[in-house]
């Protein structure tokens, strides 16, 4: 008999978690399937029970509250792209990244939650979510918990999710009035996996001085990283007269904090060098956006 699996289709989060508790590690949650089904076909991921989440209506929403921006785990990349439009803030930043991912046909299926749970070191969204200071909500048999996105990934394709848990929501705090972020990546073409990617978020105090800076890089370690040493150099900078040598110093420091490997997509040396370039571009483009906010 050809290999197959049992398919279950819960319609509530509670029901889904109960099924996962019952079957444990022999079950996998299915969202868009563009990673999971492919890996199952290749034989790199195996499971006996497939718990399809796509018929749970409570997991497909994009909401903005007074304090944060919330996305249900099953929102597709196409929906994030469409919600982005020309908006500023988290919606626009996410839309801009979603638009660059995979292909239109995959964006119809692939979800934000699936992208995060797949935990690829080269994934696009985690790097942006790191600089946006996102939190993820996890639901399980013993209730809910939230973890910062930086603590969600534990290794290549590994996360903190327990056997009975699912990621239900992504929460992004709304930035202050003087804030901007940027995302850059190095890849050969559409569909291709990132060689390296980077995001920067800056927020200013009333005097136009950088009060908070976050720099994140992907595909330079088993999990997306923050370049905290480089961030420290940025804090206190006056963006109105940002010096080129200072931006260069920050970018050099960010590159120094990476620990890339050589694989078929890029060499470690190239990844280090392109990290420097991507961080520099992100800082410059954030400053351009901030100039619009200040003036």
């Amino acid at each position: 008999m050809a290999k197959s699996f049992k398919y279950q289709r819960p319609t509530t989060i509670t029901e889904a978690c109960e099924l996962k508790t019952e079957h444990g590690s022999s079950a996998r949650f299915l969202a868009g399937g563009t990673d999971l089904i492919l890996n199952w076909q290749r034989g790199t991921v195996n499971f006996k029970h497939c718990i399809d989440l796509t018929f749970i209506p409570d997991l497909k929403y994009i909401n903005q509250t007074e304090t944060d921006f919330r996305i249900g785990t099953l929102v597709t990349l196409a929906a994030i792209e469409a919600a982005g439009g020309k908006q500023n803030g988290p919606a626009g930043a996410l839309g801009n990244v979603a638009r660059q991912m995979c292909t239109p046909q995959i964006r119809t299926l692939a979800t934000i939650g699936g992208n995060l749970c797949n935990a690829s070191p080269a994934a696009d969204l985690p790097v942006l979510l790191m600089v946006l200071d996102a939190q993820v909500a996890l639901a399980g048999a013993s209730g809910e918990r939230t973890v910062p996105i930086a603590g969600f990934f534990t290794g290549v394709n590994q996360t903190v999710l327990k056997d009975d848990e699912m990621l239900t929501e992504i929460r992004i705090p709304l930035p202050g009035p003087k804030a901007a972020c940027a995302y850059e990546r190095a890849t050969r073409m559409v569909v291709d996996c990132n060689q390296t990617n980077a995001a920067v978020a800056l927020s200013l105090d009333a005097d136009g001085i950088v009060a908070d800076a976050r720099i994140s890089l992907g595909a330079v370690a088993p999990v997306p990283i923050r370049a905290t040493g480089a961030e420290k150099i940025l804090v206190g900078m006056n963006v109105a007269n940002a010096k080129k040598d200072m931006i260069a110093q920050v970018s050099d420091q960010a590159a120094a904090e990476t620990k890339p490997i050589t694989d078929l997509r890029a060499s470690a040396d190239y990844r280090k060098e392109i990290s420097r370039v991507l961080v520099k571009r992100c800082i410059e483009s954030s400053i351009v956006k901030l100039e619009g906010v200040i003036s």
Binding site: T34, D52, T103, Q105, L109, V191
Partner: protein
Amino acid sequence: MTRLSVNNQIYELEIKPHQTLAEVLRKQLGLQGVRVSCGEGECGSCTVLIDGQPATSCLMLAMQAEGKEITTIEGMGTVDDLHPIQEAFIEEQGFQCGFCTPGIILSTKAFLEKNPEPTSAETASALSGHVCRCGAYVHIAKSVQSAAKKMKGDKP
């Protein structure tokens, strides 16, 4: 039994959980206009419309398509009554061997419904998930422009 709605017809089918939508459409419904090439979501040959949006049917479980409207190339036009996009692809020679064409035509349909007057850059981006090994890209882009005009009622 799983109920699938394909090209405005309802089918009651025995489907195994691991079967992809592409496999069910081709093997059980005989809709061989759904082409499978890479089988990994990279080439776009297997593109069908799910509730009007393009999707790679080689990576989607058929079970997941229950309750959604599926459109394949067989649901577009007939030899005697071509869809304007099909007419445009024939007139502009938007293909050579034709293997990738059904998927491209379906993506074009979804794209032109959202963006009836696309630029060539927007067209390239919308079709970026399709590979044509004959390399007919220039003619495909021309076909999309011509189809856009036809669908607006202008003479191409």
